[in-house]
Symmetry: C2
């Protein structure tokens, strides 16, 4: 294997990817992880579960690459062909691999499952292959040389692939002796769009240093900003760019690395020894769910209320019937009473309350689909805002749940300034 | 162009896809739309914005295909290379295309924009290309013959691609005179693994008809089983396979097409004019959130309770302190009282209550991480079960939330038989 810019190619298999039933996010995950050791992906090919085509592609790829990563086809079913194809191209038989059998036995035992014939197929690997441990799934990965090329076979289940990539990236980094000078700094933001962010940077004027690569990854609800430099000499420039971004986007930056809003909120609550409760109508439990996904959330989040109907807003949270009748469920008065009711019933320090119209039905001229009232803060210091965020139901719930968490983050940090999305998404 | 099974390939370009900063969902969109006219995608290749590599791939693809769809590289910037590359491979010059200029002028005028040089670049197309209208964006698509192959160039912006695909699919369908005979039947299941399903089918013996393609798509929480046939003559065989699957997996099948568990539960509740409430500890609002993602869920789901701490289980749901002290929060007695409290407070007909140890911490020898008690049903007819599902926190929450919904589905359907996962995941 050469040590100068090795050629890496990806071979992705699966009828469900070719048919469009599944969107392939695995190859993006592999590419992002490889970029940590400064490896780029030169080319990727995707084909269905067609043995002859897979063999032809694998042969041609291996001839032209230093590393080929195959993704998919490691499962227990008959359309999982990867081991068979690699064995055929290498000209070796499939053999039951003792380590893979041991892995399967442990895996099944931990789950009170019987090791069946279909599972056992997953231990049949090309002779000479070494296994790549799968910490969470039944299928082990495996690797072997094909001429000058290293072929690494990985599972199609994204969580299993993610769990396996640590070992693969470390191992490749060591083998390739890649000068590990690349440094990637990732900032997580909420409430900024890609084009707005780009525009703000341009408007700031000044020269963006050529050695710092600026990238955006827009997701829902967060957007990631990525600053990549290729060598140590560029580290000061990377830090200057980071400082510039902090100046420009300041309180829209949630944190570094993979920091999620809910994680950051729980961290701040824990630092202050405070607790949070939720009173959700249109987000329907999503805020609570985002919080409780985070390990250890039980320390600061004890209770959440999903109050969809008016009757329940009254009986569970103590919202006044008169308030509901006079102002309607989607109103400042009602979210305030929801927040107050939740604070009291949960004996919590902070609350988020949300009431809005997620759609597709239920809108009116006065309160169209996408209208939402938020209340947040502490007893006696609750604040409110009406936003209009007219997007598809599920995205609406995601963005509004995140906005609620973001307002608690801002409150906990003592940020008084309004976020940009308050202006952009203001209901008036 | 042949009328028998034409070969379609996709060529995707863009550095942001190769780096993993963007997940490519366009090729899935193209594949799904082509499947409407029974066209499958044979192979796809993805490369960065590298002109020489793009030319090589395009030449090879065009030689081996009836249709090549190129996606990406139509924008106004210098790394948008598609027109240039197609012209080079075809051996023709780039020319300003009058229809494309007219489109740009109209597009800019509607937005009060000045037609600039960068935009004008988008009207420079290979001589002889015909344009594909872009109803929403500035970049037109275009198509031309390369030998026997039709090359169609489409934009990378997903909404623009979507808007353009109607015309492309209609046009291809007419040209190819494809007999639209493919029929795909998808069944959604819960509580079956891929290997178990495969094993059960094998164990059933009998010959699986060769003309019915059997596919599995394992997701969390559901697994999809797909039966594909290529012509009308195979439809009876497809129905026989469906009947076999119903016999083998029966009540593990949730529904057809894209049916989600929460959707199915809400549909059954609505048919019976009943309501459901949730009392969640370890799933932390996820069951409520899964239900409220579904439009119209407010008809049958009015209230949900997230009761993480013991104090809240007492104050909000009326669980007895004595029960908590004697049996612990993760116990049959406590989930029963949680369900009863929720039923009463929400005035609901059915309840799901969950209390368990999601991890990574909080387990003990007696109740290890992954232990969970479920209660479900109507007042006076509540049933309970303890499961042990030791997977990563977020997957645990997903699977347990789905199991709770599944038990309500089974109750509403009057299914008495225990699901397979009760046996496999039973805690002792």
């Amino acid at each position: 294997m050469t040590t100068q810019s090795p050629v890496v190619q990806l071979l992705l298999t699966g009828n469900e990817i070719m048919s469009g039933d599944t969107v392939d996010s695995n190859s993006a995950m592999i590419a992002r992880r490889l970029s940590e050791i400064a490896l780029g992906v030169y080319r990727k090919i995707t084909v269905g579960d067609d043995p002859e085509l897979l063999k032809t592609e694998l042969r041609a790829m291996a001839d032209a690459s230093d590393v080929v990563i195959i993704n998919g086809g490691l499962g227990p079913t008959i359309d999982d062909l990867t081991a068979e194809i690699l064995a055929a191209v290498a000209g070796v038989p499939l053999r039951e691999h003792p380590e893979a059998v041991a892995h399967l036995e442990t895996w099944c035992a931990a789950r009170n499952l019987q090791l069946n014939a279909a599972n056992r197929k997953q231990a049949m690997l090309p002779e000479g292959a070494s296994i790549v441990d799968n910490p969470i799934g039944s299928a082990v990965g495996f690797a072997m040389q094909l001429g000058q090329c290293q072929v690494i076979c990985t599972p199609g289940v994204p969580s299993e692939l993610a769990a396996m990539l640590d070992a693969i990236v470390t191992d490749l980094g060591a083998q390739l002796e890649q000068p590990a000078e690349r440094s990637i700094l990732r900032l997580q933001t909420f409430g900024l769009g890609e084009s707005t962010a780009q525009q703000i940077i341009s408007d700031a004027g000044g020269q963006w240093p050529g050695e710092v690569d600026l990238g955006f990854r827009a997701g829902a609800p967060q957007m990631e900003i990525k600053l990549t430099v290729e060598n140590h000499a560029a580290l000061p420039a990377q830090q200057r760019c980071r400082a510039l971004l902090e100046e420009l986007f300041g309180d829209h930056i949630i944190g570094e690395g993979d920091t999620q809003l809910a994680e950051r909120v729980l961290q701040l609550l824990q630092q202050q020894g405070s607790t949070l409760t939720t009173a959700e109508s249109c987000t329907g439990g999503l805020i609570a769910s985002m919080l409780t996904r985070v390990p250890g959330s039980s320390q600061c989040f004890h209770a959440g209320f999903v109050t969809y109907s008016n009757t329940i807003k009254e009986s569970v949270l103590g919202v006044q019937r008169g308030t509901l009748e006079q102002h309607g469920a989607v109103s400042e008065e009602v979210v305030l009473e929801m927040a107050e009711g939740a604070l009291q019933r949960a004996s919590a320090d902070y609350a988020i309350a949300v009431s809005g119209i997620a759609g597709p039905d239920g809108g009116s001229d006065e309160k169209p689909v996408g209208t939402v009232w938020l209340a947040w803060g502490q007893q006696g210091q609750l604040r409110t805002r009406c936003l209009h965020w007219p997007v598809e139901r599920s995205l609406f719930q995601t963005m509004i749940a995140a906005a609620g968490l973001d307002m608690i983050r801002r409150t906990l940090l003592g940020i008084d300034e309004e976020p940009r999305y308050f202006v952009q998404r203001s209901a008036r």
